[in-house]
């Protein structure tokens, strides 16, 4: 796959349609703000268009976009004095029902470094090695974060929603 540096409109539309929701899920859960998630998704795809990287297959392309989006979310969080709490009605507007919202609210209380690993492992179903590459940490660090993240998520969910 060799993207050209200048993309026609239909190709941009196709990229947004193909990867928009995947990136939006990650960014919304990481940032806890619909508008910030929108900015992060847009920045990610803009970087993709500007850099026009070469990919071996669609899996490679998706992993690249997720890496850029995760980095973008991390950078945005660093600049915040306070981290927003996503209102329930905003979450519901994006699709989840009440029960799912409970899980998501608990997930968003898990510290970000564990949260991103949980999403990549349980939702995107990446292997540990790929997650390690995406977040720039060792495989053992990913295993530890996954273990601790899962424990934190269960504790928060049991305490607040059961």
């Amino acid at each position: 796959m060799e993207p050209s540096s200048v993309r026609p409109a239909d190709e941009i539309e196709s990229i947004v349609h193909t990867y928009g929701t995947t990136l939006f899920r990650l960014c919304l859960v990481m940032l806890g703000s619909e508008s910030d998630a929108e900015d992060a998704v847009q920045d990610t795809i803009l970087t993709y268009l500007q850099k026009a990287p070469r990919f071996t297959d669609t899996g490679h392309e998706k992993a690249w976009l997720i890496t850029v989006a995760a980095n973008r979310c991390r950078d945005m969080r660093r600049r915040w004095a306070r981290h927003p709490q996503l209102p329930l009605e905003t979450l519901e507007r994006c699709g989840p029902d009440r029960e799912d919202c409970g899980v998501l609210e608990a997930l968003m209380q898990v510290p970000p470094r564990f949260r991103v690993v949980l999403i990549l492992y349980y939702v995107e179903e990446y292997p540990m090695e790929e997650i390690a590459r995406i977040i720039g940490r060792s495989v053992s660090a990913v295993k530890m974060r996954l273990q601790k993240g899962r424990r934190l998520l269960e504790e928060i969910y049991r305490k607040e929603y059961l």
Partner: protein, 339 residues
């Protein structure tokens, strides 16, 4: 919780259709603007040439030499700039809008700042976020210094505005106003801070604080507790900063630095540990919070991941960025921006 429930909950999130359309539209608009990139090297060359040439006293109180240089470097570009030459003076400093041009959905404005009474305008002069551009439409803008003439204490700035809707910039009146600027900025890097890391308390007193920011991979506001200042002597050799606390908290080395009067300057620092073999250990997180006395002082607390034994082989080091002078005034110029 079953793994499947987590996956189901996250996958229930869909990007709203309206958002998808907005993003697509903005990206298409950005793609259409791509040919404009070809003009940027010319601007960069011009700015670089101005920076070099303005080392000579060519700018003075007049703007003709700027045009001469523009014609020399990029005649087509120079022709597209319209002379403005409107100025305002306050507190012994004159701000002059020299020239401006519209190009597609953006506008570029050259303006100068000249100290008529001293040397408050220098090569490090920074308007940071104290300028305002008023237009009848929404724009995004940024300002960068394009040159400096030491002989006349005159700094040249390039302001670039971009129409937020991506439409062609209409000719209209624009007001550029400035309320303060920073100058005499100084960087002091690799400064050794004589703190004894082998004698740091392993059970320091801590307190909950109201964080205003932070950074780092390990940043976690939910578990952070700040050190209570515990050092009787300030070991930081850089004026405007105080090393206020050291302590081991849950196996991590915490180093607390106080920045005096942050509200009135842009001073900041980055602390790190330097090993005896020259290796550098960066903090894994840092936390910022205001002093409680309302003075405008700000604390920065850095967290390092290493053991007390390893710490004995490191010394505390810092890069310090000081903005020495802050000049206030009220400068405002309204001028026509013509396409």
């Amino acid at each position: 919780m079953e793994d499947i429930r987590l996956k189901q909950a996250v996958q229930a999130i869909e990007m709203p259709r309206a958002m998808e359309e907005r993003i697509t539209e903005r990206l298409c608009r950005a793609a259409r603007r791509r040919p404009a990139r070809w003009t940027r090297p010319a601007v960069a060359v011009l700015a670089a040439a101005l920076s070099l040439t303005l080392a000579m006293p060519v700018l003075a109180a007049h703007v003709e030499p700027v045009y001469d240089l523009m014609y020399l470097v990029a005649p087509a570009m120079a022709q597209s700039f319209q002379p403005v030459r409107q100025s305002d003076q306050d507190n012994g400093v004159r701000m002059e809008v020299v020239s401006a041009r519209i190009q597609g959905d953006s506008a570029q404005i050259y303006l100068t700042l000249q100290d008529l009474e001293g040397d408050r305008v220098d090569a490090t002069t920074d308007l940071y976020d104290s300028y305002t551009v008023r237009t009848p439409y929404d724009t995004a803008g940024h300002c960068e210094q394009a040159g400096y003439d030491a002989e006349t204490s005159t700094a040249l700035f390039l302001v670039t505005l971009t129409h937020l809707e991506g439409q062609a910039m209409p000719g209209d009146k624009i007001t550029f106003s400035l309320r303060e600027f920073l100058s005499q900025k100084e960087e002091r890097t690799g400064i050794s801070i004589p703190a004894d890391l082998s004698a740091v308390s392993t059970a320091p007193a801590t307190q909950a604080v109201d964080l205003r920011g932070g950074s780092g991979e390990a940043f976690d506001e939910s578990s952070f507790r700040a050190l209570i200042p515990n050092l009787p002597e300030n070991a930081c050799p850089v004026e405007g900063f105080q090393l206020t606390s050291l302590g081991w908290v849950e196996g991590k080395l915490h180093v607390q630095l106080l920045v005096d009067d942050l509200l009135d300057n842009d001073n900041h620092a980055q602390l790190y540990l330097t090993g005896s073999d020259g290796t550098v250990l960066e903090p894994e997180a840092s936390y910022s919070f205001w002093a409680e006395n309302g003075s405008g002082d700000s604390y920065e607390e850095y967290v390092f991941s290493l053991s007390p034994e390893e710490a004995e082989n490191y010394r505390l080091t810092g890069d310090f960025f000081l903005s020495g002078n802050r000049t206030q005034g009220n400068w405002k110029v309204t001028f026509p921006l013509e396409g």
